[in-house]
Amino acid sequence: MDQTKAEHDLGLMRRVAADDEGAVAELYDRFGPLVYRMAYQALPTRAEAEDAVQEVFVRLWRTAAKFDPKRASLVTWVMLLSRRHIVDRLRRKQARIKAGKLEEAWSPPADTPEMGGSIERDERMAGLMEKVEKLPELQQIVVKRAYLGGQTLKQIGDELGVPLGTVKSALSRALTRLRERINPEEYV
């Protein structure tokens, strides 16, 4: 990564950690749209997506002092924290539903994306799902459950009776294949 950019990013995160409101605004301007797209894809409603984005930026502020450009670029750091937060939120939601004994309203993530299933969400997922459907069966299942449903890899392995290593490999290959299909020119 460009050294100047890395230094700028480190300075930005130090200012965020020092409660600099302007730095938080700059961070949002750079990554807010990306975080929103992630939340919008994973969560069932716009309201939940917007709430999750707010939580993510609070989390970015809280952890800003830990940012180390030698370990990860800023976009990787933001992506990682955001995805973890969104996945945790999905898992919490599943846990709450289960804890409330609403088994009739909850079924384990199956072959369709879990958490919502609204028409709006189905429409927004249509493009991605079309590509997912072309993957080998195991890869389809793990993408839907892990990437879209928020299930842990261990849960998926246990439920499918498949070793954890196989689940990880299938998910890794699936995500690489999806990216190849969406951006074929990068892989020529």
């Binding site: 938080v24 807010g32 990306l34 797209r37 930026f57 609070v58 976009v75 842990t152 261990k154 990880k168």
Partner: protein, 266 residues
Amino acid sequence: MNKSMNTLHTTEELIELAGLDAMGLLDESERERFDRSYDAAPPHVQAEIRRAQHRFASDHSLLPEVEAPASLRSRVLMRVREAMLSTAGTAGSISQAGVRSMLPIWRAAAIACGTAALVLGAYSMSVTDEANDILAQFNANQSQQQLLETSPRLREIYLSANKRDFNFLPASSDFQSTTLTARLMLDPDNGQAVLFIGGLPEAFGEYSLVVQPADQAPTRLADFPAIDGKAQVNLDNIDVTTANQLIIMGSDDQGNDMPILRSGDA
């Protein structure tokens, strides 16, 4: 932790998992193993992993083409500001410890909140005697009124007609202490909650809050530091069931987690 979790990943495995880590798809134990393996890897492998993760994180083609609402920016900035104010108002000890100083803009905001709190004060003082005791224990140097002035969230929860309180009990005999105390105040109508903890054991460098429904794996809700054994944590999307299944964990220098307190109805 099973035996395989203690072994390091091979270079091939590390590179295969780089994308999953960047996309937040590894389980917590897997993340730790990945991080340990990364730290032990030679520099050229680390560089390759960083590049692979940067590629994954920079490629947004799997995401839907959608624009964030324009109003979201101001709401995000407001939420972060509220969190900053809340931290600044947690305790005088935080400022004294030099962890975060209160910037002039936050002082001004605190004064503005204080003005609003004067209006609410008479009512809140009458309904919060029991909570006042907890807050007095939480911070002997700061009154309940001062806490309310610097935390709009806390004020809202106080004034909620359906406010619920949850106590915490020591998770084991190792943590029987007269000073260790925690209390969660929840507005069940909007899921917002504030957790106050005091007397946390100093043996732990970091703390976390997890929810663990019966017979299920725990899910981490928040990581937080403690200053002089005290911490204040703002939480969202908490319901009564969740509030009854919380565990405050301590993490030592080796990364070992240990349950300190468990929640229950007050």
